[in-house]
Symmetry: C3
Subunit: 117 residues, 3 copies
């Protein structure tokens, strides 16, 4: 396990994921298509998280912490539908879900998490 | 100190606390009774954090980082009253406090923190 | 590298930075003068982050994760101007940027980050 900082898909503004000493810090992920509903946006985000974690040699059972930002708290149940369908039932992370306006008016959900390799 | 991921009170959606390699990641905690004021809700949250940290072999002097979400920034001073009464004066964590609507309209404060064993 | 928790500028409420085992947890930083625009506030924050990281034996190329809170998402491009001018182009952290009302009505941006020594 490297003691170097490893960056995945770095651009000038942010990296999609940063690894250090076995911990993976993921950037806030948003859905690829923000014209769809929050459940579909969440599903898109979770697929992206799966892909990023796989590249880091980890998977969703090793997420330790997550913050879910929803643009409207009334939409949380639909986000949670996608979350529950995806989440391994024995390895859910510490999580908070709060309301925040996001990068665009159509962005209904954004998830930022920390995982272990 | 275990190199396994240990989950406290896991349910399908989230775990109340996740431990890895001596770091404790706590889920966002909200007051047990959200019909009371923000000071009382904060006191309830801090008691829950005390209990969780004790179960992980830690305590409030070992919190390294905390994010406090308040539903209305005008209520922050009342949250801080409870925080200051609780916090050990020499071991305050790095903290941010921002406004966010929370899980229910009556939920006035939520605190998410990271601690060391 | 110390396995003790080291606190920088602790007061009763929070510490500006907390170090443990080579990881630096920074408190949410706000601009020193909140009567200026968001770009200037961001520049002030980034100078403070530089100073804190230097005291911890680190620098901006070792930030692994950052959350940027902006008081109005329409101001994000101006925050990003300051961010991009400051950020080392090969070492950007995992980042999320969300909207949240902050400690005062004039506080337009707050940044909380985690770095490695």
């Amino acid at each position: 396990m490297s003691k170097d900082i490893v960056r995945y898909d770095p651009d000038k503004r942010l990296s999609d994921m940063v690894e250090y000493d076995g911990t993976l810090y993921l950037a806030g992920q948003v859905g690829e298509d923000v014209k769809v509903g929050i459940k579909e946006q969440t599903e898109s985000i979770l697929r992206q998280i799966d892909k990023l974690l796989a590249r880091g040699g980890s998977d969703k059972t090793k997420i330790v912490s997550a913050v879910v930002y929803v643009s409207d708290m009334r939409l949380k149940p639909k986000m949670d539908e996608a979350w529950l369908a995806w989440m391994d039932s024995k390895s859910a992370p510490a999580r908070a879900c709060v309301e925040a306006r996001l990068g665009s008016a159509d962005t209904l959900v954004e998830i930022m998490c920390v995982a272990i390799k």
